[in-house]
Amino acid sequence: MPGLAGRMSTVVKSKISRMLDRAEDPGETLDYGYQKQTELLQNVKKGIADVVTSKKRLQMQSSKLEQQVVKLDTQARQALAQGREDLARTALERKNLAQTELQSLDQQIKELESQQEQLTANEQRLRQKIEQFRTKKEVIKAQYSAAEAQVRIGEAANGVGEEMADLGLAMQRAEDKTEQMRARASAVEELEQAGAFDDITQLGSGQDDIDRQLSELTSGAQVDDELSKMKAELGSGEGGDQPALEQGEDKA
């Protein structure tokens, strides 16, 4: 069968037969196969741990950004209430950037989560197959002559070999994904270090460069919209400053 399916089958099978060809003595083939299988299982565990680590790192960044979004929003309101539209705009630009990053981080966290689930399920399946293989290999070693054993084990070894090759593929994909996430996490960290998400109380006098870059990065229209919305909200409060709102109807 040519095509997607055919190509995959051919690649996987050629690898397995190469593995089987390496050993001449069936007993050795069996033990070697079993050893390779358990090694792979260890690698899978490491792979899963890697995915979890990357996920945690992204989750930490995500909650940090979430706090920053709230803070910047509050500051924009305060700045506007004090008539500092320039500061309010800066805060909103930063908030927008943080929100965009936040969305993409959350998306990636979800992807890593499903990756983790899939690998865990694969690991359990392979563990079961390896156990099955171990039982079979002991029976075959004990009961059959070398020639017979070679034939008998071929099928089982191919079955478990295919499982191994397939898991290898799943691991490869998970690693690629994790690698992309790492790059992403580093990019966010760089922005963070450059002060792109700093709140406006931390702004010194020398921040013009970041601000210029930020206004290029974020959509001006969106910031304008948000700014006028905020103005309207503040305006509808009428009759002055916010503390007045706090004196509600019911007092304890």
């Binding site: 069968m1 040519p2 095509g3 997607l4 399916a5 055919g6 190509r7 995959m8 089958s9 690649v11 996987v12 099978k13 690898k15 899939q118 694969n122 399946r125 079961q128 197959k129 099955q132 293989f133 079979k136 099928e155 089982a156 191919n158 079955g159 478990v160 295919e162 090759a165 397939d166 290898g168 593929l169 799943a170 490869q172 994909r173």
Partner: protein
């Protein structure tokens, strides 16, 4: 006929499905070659659908070789393209 969906496991399908699967596969390959992503996704989900509607999952205790190995369910168009250039999904 035994079909593996990579990353998921094996399924036993009636032999009659081989032709249908083969046909879908060939069309999927042409779609990839023509750069037709929508067409590819459509055919790919038909292939998966065929396996899940006609196939029975094979027990974890059974050690059998597959007749056909399908790529992972969430294969991207880019990855599918890679199958025809380079090393395929499993590099040497």
């Amino acid at each position: 006929m035994i079909v593996r969906i990579s990353g998921e496991g094996q399924f036993r399908l009636p032999d009659e499905d081989a032709d249908r699967l083969n046909e879908l596969d060939n069309r999927a390959v042409s779609a990839v070659e023509e750069g037709d992503e929508t067409g590819f996704q459509e055919l790919w989900s038909q292939m998966l659908e065929l396996v899940s509607s006609d196939g029975n999952a094979i027990d974890g205790d059974e050690l059998v070789e597959s007749d056909v190995i399908l790529p992972p369910r969430d294969i991207t168009f880019e990855e599918a393209r890679g199958e025809f250039t380079g090393d395929g999904l499993i590099p040497d």
